[in-house]
């Protein structure tokens, strides 16, 4: 077994449309490189801490993204927050962070405060937390098709807003994902299907999940280009996603990006990976840690040194602590909100139920 990240690459994305690429994919300068590391470090710290919060009883559960930092930060950094829109699953904490979603509001879903999280999806361009595997992939296609219908004129920029659908290797088995890819390819919707192939769907390895072995390889069947990329190399992910986004933005249709990575942690804090894989499996499958890999790159390029890393990491710890304070302070939402958000325009039946709930529950 080799590290998953080294799986054969695949690249059928045609050469970039130069003019549009410029906005999206100028190679990161030193400041941007350091920023990428900052994000990686913050995400890593927050993820580790969230697991600890669960052990401490602060939150009832959490789905760690350990090992997928490069995939998520790389993808997130390719997004234009002003006109693109991200459709996450339940594990895209790193993308949320990169997009600037308020992390206390994000973590509220893990504190069982509100299923979709307390953040504003419209303001952040980050759709609500989604527990249905594959559930939001079609939304990305519909949203993206809406950008085509709006026309490029609707934006102050050249090119279309792009929808980014996040999905896992497990999700690729869902019928909805097929319907989404087919729809998108037919209408040439500006959507990027960003697959984090992390080797596992809970206990089921990709080999028993993805017939043919690669989600990216399926793109050809829909007449769509695809890139399969080392998901633990943040620069590779960034570049691939930028190219994909530029392609879609130019009106050339959907793209599949498959980031080969590894879920180093448990599926969730209630999972026990020891039942289905060994520590050796994890070590080999995971390969080199994406953060240490990137530290080497930055050092080699002379863009950052040990002091920088130490500083950033300390800062990340501070941020995570601040977020923890916010999560601790998060109060339950009033029960009346159960009724408030069902509809934009409530109904008499629901009004009566809300009144009865208030009488029987609030005053007891």
């Amino acid at each position: 077994m080799a590290p998953r990240a080294l799986a054969a690459t695949l690249d059928t994305l045609p050469p970039p449309v130069s003019q549009l690429l410029e906005a999206d994919a100028s190679a990161p300068d030193p400041a941007q490189l350091r920023d990428l590391y900052r994000m990686l470090s913050n995400v890593r710290q927050l993820d580790r801490d969230a697991v600890a919060w669960q052990r401490q009883g602060l939150i009832p559960g959490y789905a760690p993204m350990l090992g997928q930092e490069a995939a998520q930060v790389g993808a997130g950094a390719a997004v234009d927050k002003n006109r693109d829109f991200v459709f996450p699953t339940y594990r895209e904490m790193g993308v949320a962070y990169t997009l600037g979603v308020n992390m206390v509001e994000y973590m509220s879903t893990h504190k069982a405060i509100w299923h979709g999280g307390l953040y504003d999806p419209v303001a952040t361009h980050f759709a609500p937390f989604q527990a249905v595997v594959g559930g939001s992939v079609l939304h990305a296609v519909g949203w993206a098709h809406g950008q085509t219908l709006n026309g490029p004129g609707a934006s102050v920029y050249a090119g279309l807003g792009v929808g980014l659908a996040f999905l896992g290797d497990g999700a690729s088995s869902q019928g909805d994902v097929h319907e989404a890819m087919n729809f998108a390819a037919i209408v040439k919707a500006p959507v990027v299907f960003f697959v984090q192939n992390n080797g596992w769907a809970i206990s089921v390895p990709t080999e028993q999940q993805v017939a043919g072995g690669s989600v990216a390889a399926r793109a050809a069947g829909y007449g769509m280009p695809a890139v399969r990329v080392d998901g633990n190399d943040v620069l590779a992910v960034l570049a691939a996603t930028q190219r994909a986004v530029a392609h879609s933005r130019a009106g050339l249709g959907p793209v599949v990006v498959e980031a080969m990575t590894y879920r180093r942690g448990p599926h969730s804090t209630s999972d026990d990976p020891g039942r289905y894989r060994t520590l050796d499996d994890e070590k080999i499958g995971g390969g080199e840690d994406p953060l240490s890999r990137f530290r080497k790159v930055l050092s080699a390029r002379g863009v950052a040194d040990a002091a920088f890393f130490a500083g950033v990491d300390a800062e990340a710890q501070q941020h995570a602590d601040d977020i923890r304070d916010g999560v601790v302070a998060l109060c339950s939402r009033p029960g009346s909100e159960m009724f408030d958000f069902v509809f934009q325009e409530t109904t008499p039946t629901l009004g009566a139920q809300a009144r009865q709930w208030r009488e029987e529950s609030e005053h007891v």
């Binding site: 419209v122 079609l138 519909g142 949203w143 219908l149 729809f183 934009q344």
Partner: protein, 347 residues
């Protein structure tokens, strides 16, 4: 938007026109697309063909293939993309070709469409009107004659409505499409071709009701209330006609909105008649008739003179055309139900 509507209205022909329900819906769709440039109509074969029932006839030619379009053959995909389009600020009016083919879309309807407003704390409303040609009675193949109202009505976050006449269809569809919440619009396909006068003016819906919300008494009576929706309304009117020959005056209540249910109207009618029969095509157990019976049994407990009768489809798969008339409540079975509530004596 009302300014635009105002303008449109002035160009409309004189109020009362003879339309089939299929024509009334087609007309309503045209007006909606005209007045609201974020409205989109899509589904299988709704474009060039104009729908298998011609309900979308001519709309693609009139509004263009970007606003009225055929989708691939995938109902979950239709609903899923509708949700995304709503997130992008559009007002999707998708069609599912037949009731029985809404099942593949149930996951997107229940876990996504009905919940997105809630999940997003009201920031992502879902102004989606899902048209579903519904119910039986046309001798069609399997899965072309089913009643999903009980399934839909149970789902928090959905509103459900079914018109019983061209008049209702025209106004209710325009109303539904103007609502900021998801509405399942169940069209009784057995009634698609029956023509009736439609008053195109606003707020003239139902016998005497000025409102587009709630139920309508379509025939007043005093001995018992027949409660129905969709194609069963006209059947109940026939039953009331027959019963009247024997001096029995049946009130017929068109429930119309299947979620939310107009509890006040139900209570008001049955409080007067003191007897109720609910009639529907869908299977008996856990059908919407159970909800109606439970509501009436509660609100009219003191005045009810007989248990609420349910005359419904049986707990069997919707049968083939030849047995359809054995399955759908027919006049005889409804009359038996009426007889039971009228003859009921406390034991």
């Amino acid at each position: 938007m009302s300014d635009t509507l105002e303008a449109v209205r002035e160009t409309l022909p004189m109020p009362l026109v003879q339309l089939s329900m299929q024509q009334a819906i087609n007309r309503a769709l045209g007006e909606i697309l005209d007045a609201d440039d974020r409205a989109l109509v899509f589904g299988e074969d709704v474009g060039v063909l104009g729908g298998v029932f011609r309900v979308t006839d001519g709309l693609q030619a009139r509004f263009g293939a970007h606003r009225v379009f055929d989708t691939p053959l995938a109902e979950s995909g239709i609903l899923g993309t509708a949700i995304g389009l709503a997130m992008a600020g559009f007002h999707p009016i998708p069609e599912v070709q037949f009731d029985g083919f809404a099942y593949p879309a149930v996951n997107q309807i229940i876990t996504q469409l009905a919940r997105m407003n809630y999940r997003s704390r009201g920031t992502l409303p879902m102004p989606v009107t899902l048209r579903v040609p519904s119910f039986g009675g046309i001798r069609a193949p399997e899965h072309h004659g089913e009643s999903l109202e009980s399934l839909f009505a149970h789902v928090p976050g959905l509103k459900v409505v079914s018109p019983s006449s061209p008049q209702q269809a025209y106004h209710l569809l325009k109303h539904a499409a103007s609502m900021p919440d998801p509405v399942i619009f169940m069209e009784p396909k057995a009634r698609y071709w029956n023509k009736a006068g439609v008053n195109l003016a606003d707020n003239v819906v139902g016998a005497g009701s000025a409102s587009l919300e709630g139920s309508v008494v379509v025939r007043p009576g005093k001995h018992a209330t027949l409660i129905a929706w969709g194609a069963m309304v006209s059947r109940c009117l026939q039953v009331a006609e027959l019963a009247a020959e024997d001096g029995i005056e049946l009130e017929v209540l068109d429930l119309r909105w299947l979620k939310p249910i107009d509890e006040a109207a139900l209570a008001a009618s049955v409080s007067r008649t003191r007897r109720a029969i609910v009639v529907h095509e869908g299977p008996h157990t856990a059908g919407l008739g159970a909800e109606v019976a439970a509501l009436v049994s509660q609100s009219c407990f003191d005045v009810l003179r007989a248990p609420v009768e349910r005359v419904t489809g049986f707990d069997v798969p919707y049968p083939s055309g030849d047995l359809e008339d054995e399955y759908i409540p027919n006049i005889d079975r409804i009359l038996f139900g009426v007889q039971r509530v009228l003859e009921y004596r406390r034991g």
